[in-house]
């Protein structure tokens, strides 16, 4: 799995890192059950604070893309790629729905109507 960050890019570093992991999972370059690099190791290599890496990993964990396992570290979950994208879309849908004043119940109805 390749992780590249561009400090000159306005995107926050932790977002870049999380995005790189997401992309790697979606492209199949890291398999479910495989460990992500250790936070300290990755932080040293990318010359960022360990906190930045931990924040990225935490975001991925909240998305359900990875899991923290005792003794093993941060591990990619089986339902990784599609779920990540779905969650992204779901978030966007909720945001847009909220903007247009739609309740969750109405959003669900909308989803049911589509294809």
């Amino acid at each position: 799995m390749l992780i590249r960050v561009q400090p000159q890019d306005p995107t926050p570093l932790y977002t870049q890192i999380a995005g790189q992991v997401r992309r790697a999972v979606m492209e199949g370059r890291v398999k479910p059950g495989e460990r992500l690099p250790g936070a300290r190791e990755l932080a040293d290599a990318l010359q960022v604070h360990m906190h930045t890496v931990l924040r990225a990993y935490d975001e991925l964990r909240q998305e359900g893309l990875v899991e923290v396992r005792r003794g093993r570290g941060v591990v990619v979950l089986a339902n990784g790629p599609d779920r990540s994208r779905l969650l992204e879309l779901a978030r966007a849908l909720r945001a847009e729905g909220a903007r247009q004043g739609l309740a969750l119940r109405e959003l669900r109805k909308l989803l049911g109507e589509v294809g």
Partner: protein, 328 residues
């Protein structure tokens, strides 16, 4: 893409398994009849027969146990040497020689145990017609010739000589990048663990516990280190960590690297799995068949490391080298 032309490599991997299984079978057939028959064998065991078929040479029982494994030694060494073969034609000969050695080990162990079974003295061991002596050599020979056919047909031409230049990741001065990947093949380790109770049980009853115990521990350590690796590419070096703990590692400083590629490897390219080293030429860390990273060093040595997502690794290595060259 981490998948590769799987059907062909799966067959190669199965063939490698078969070869290893046959070598192991040779060892087991060589040592187990003697181990099992040990209490029923005389103190001195007949090991040589005259042309008339009468036993005329003997050896103390506790040394006879080591006779078949001694024959297997060359098989193991030959298998290792095949990785050093610079020409595919030489490599093709080595495999049948290894097979001959293993089969000889097996047949000899069985014949010695059978001929001496239940005899009070070696002198009263079974008479063995010359035809038995002939088949002791002939059977392994036939077996080895069979393998020659397989080796000649299947052994690939060296695939590493001409490789197109590898991918290169464009990196600006401030970019920071890191690659990590792994490869594992725990099947053999599992087999060893499963076989351990059986082997130790037999060994304990035959007072050979210490010998088999040591062998088992050695095999376990070797397999642990060579059936799982983690590889990382950073701005300073490429690092290979062996085993689940990663306490032993190999480092390839980026300054010493010329270029990197990704390619498909079969264990047969190097005579089998594990750490294969050839003086002045190649080092191969073969954990499984499939995608591998090739790193060419300035010294002329080439490293071949089976690892997933090798193209991205090669791409980063080449990109880092290029960036250093530009800024240098």
């Amino acid at each position: 893409m981490t998948t590769s032309n799987r059907p062909l490599l799966a067959r190669d991997e199965m063939l490698t398994w078969l070869i290893y299984a046959l070598l192991a079978l040779g060892f087991v057939l060589g040592i187990s009849p003697l181990l099992i028959a040990a209490p029923r064998l005389p103190e001195f065991v007949a090991v040589h027969w005259s042309l008339a078929g009468l036993p005329d040479g003997s050896m103390p029982k506790r040394y006879v146990l080591f006779l078949p494994p001694l024959l297997l030694g060359p098989a193991v060494v030959l298998n290792w040497i095949s990785a050093r073969a610079s020409a595919p034609s030489r490599a093709r000969l080595v495999l049948p020689l290894a097979m001959f050695s293993a089969a000889l080990c097996g047949v000899l162990g069985t014949v010695l145990a059978a001929a001496n079974w239940g005899r009070a003295h070696w002198q009263s061991a079974a008479h063995l017609a010359p035809s038995v002596a002939v088949s002791v050599v002939a059977l392994p020979l036939v077996f080895a010739l069979g393998t020659l056919g397989v080796a000649v047909r299947r052994w690939p031409a060296s695939p590493h000589s001409l490789l197109p230049p590898g991918p290169k990741l464009p990196l600006s001065g401030q970019d920071r990048a890191y690659w990590s990947g792994s490869a594992s093949n725990r099947a053999m380790l599992l087999l060893l663990l499963l076989g351990a109770p059986v082997m130790l049980l037999v060994a304990e009853q035959r007072d050979a516990l210490w010998a088999l115990g040591i062998t088992h521990v050695l095999c376990f350590v070797l397999l642990e280190l060579l059936t799982k690796i983690r590889v990382t590419v950073g701005e300073r070096e490429v690092r290979i960590r062996y085993g689940a703990l990663g306490w032993l590692s190999s480092r390839l400083p980026l300054d010493e690297i010329l270029e990197a590629n990704a390619l498909e490897l079969s264990p047969l390219d190097f005579g089998g799995w594990g750490y294969r080293w050839c003086r002045g030429k190649r080092t191969a860390v073969v954990v499984r068949a499939g995608l591998a990273l090739r790193v060419a060093l300035r010294s002329g040595r080439q490293w071949f490391i089976t690892v997933d997502d090798a193209e991205a690794a090669a791409s980063l290595i080449n990109g880092l080298i290029e960036r250093k060259r530009r800024s240098g």
